[in-house]
Symmetry: C2
Subunit: 248 residues, 2 copies
Amino acid sequence: MIRRGLRAAARLGHHGALPGGPYILPRFSLASAFGSSMDSLVSRFCQEKTDLKNYALPNASWCPDMLNLYHEFLEKTKADGWIRLPSFKSNRNHIQGLKFPLVLTVSSDKSDCHIFTRCIKTEGQGYEYVIFFHPSKKKSVCLFQPGPYLEGPRGFAHGGSLAAMIDETFSKTAYLAGDGLFTLNLNTRFKNLIRMGSLAVLNVGVEKVEDQKLYISCVAQSTDQQTVYAKASGTFLQLQLEEDSSQY
Amino acid sequence: MIRRGLRAAARLGHHGALPGGPYILPRFSLASAFGSSMDSLVSRFCQEKTDLKNYALPNASWCPDMLNLYHEFLEKTKADGWIRLPSFKSNRNHIQGLKFPLVLTVSSDKSDCHIFTRCIKTEGQGYEYVIFFHPSKKKSVCLFQPGPYLEGPRGFAHGGSLAAMIDETFSKTAYLAGDGLFTLNLNTRFKNLIRMGSLAVLNVGVEKVEDQKLYISCVAQSTDQQTVYAKASGTFLQLQLEEDSSQY
């Protein structure tokens, strides 16, 4: 497994990252060939934070379809093994206590950073979404309601806003299902436009894990499953983050 | 050409859009098989608007690399055939006087809509970008500086924010180069992360036009061209919009 991982690393080094770039995706290390336990990933990610706002909770802008499906999945968290993922302002809030590779550390990060999909503060204007994750099935469902600040064609969501929502759901799924940390590829085939303020349901699943890569797929569709908005596939690079002992 | 267009339409109807969906991408019409002249598309798109804010102008948040390259391309607009594209709050400002197909009209659009890539109002916080377009070469260059509200990994731009920026540059290029109006496919291969606040240069070109589809490619790289951030390809559906006589 380690040797296969190293071969994959060499391929990435050859095809992917140009020499000399200061922000190159990290090469595989031996450490990254061992996966974290899913339980530890999930429990760290979902830990109770009383001081941080969780943006994945219902608000007055959510349409009835979104509220109904939210409560349906909330019921499934009680018996069917689904987990409602919290959503904080920044990814750094989700992975506190873990260390990034040196090549990815930033010298100064004093600015007020927001994860892209929580960049618009006013409720209902931008991204409204909540992700439910099923650890043993390695599946996620994202309920996504695009607001008027995500416009593309008049009255409809921008294709890029949907691609970004898919990427974000992929990335959370890839991380929790197996240390998937970086998007290597994202391919989205658009089928129908999403009307602003309506609900799109993103059904996401890990298809396979091979050569330290996770292969993930998505079907985004309407609540009644009669309209497919997009189909997508993505590949994520696994990288296990180490505990940051300097924080203790 | 028309017959080939209709065959493509049938394929799209078969593979793409499910029956019954209320917001299905429009089928091809005979009208859409005739292209608009590029001159008329460009002149309508770029018309002087004294009452609308143009977001594609330099501001205090632009980094030196972005400012330098902006002025370099500005020089090229005087002699080399490049055009600086204005960027208004909504796509509807760019295509005023044109009529959308009935299936894409919205009954109520009173909300304060923003094109997704101009969704964050504070300068430097979100998307800073300007697109230059070369009509005869069918190429575009987008200067893109991601701000701290586009974060993905700590200190770096979210992959979805880059995918959306590529989609937006593709869509403007596809529209002006030949009535390309809807993204059918967007495939992005990520190579390196973009550090927040630094410049990514998106080099975009139309590869071919076939069966009423435009095939477009992109290489996103650093100013010194030493680091490739992403390579992408996209397919756009051509659809010629008719003049909206009701507005006169």
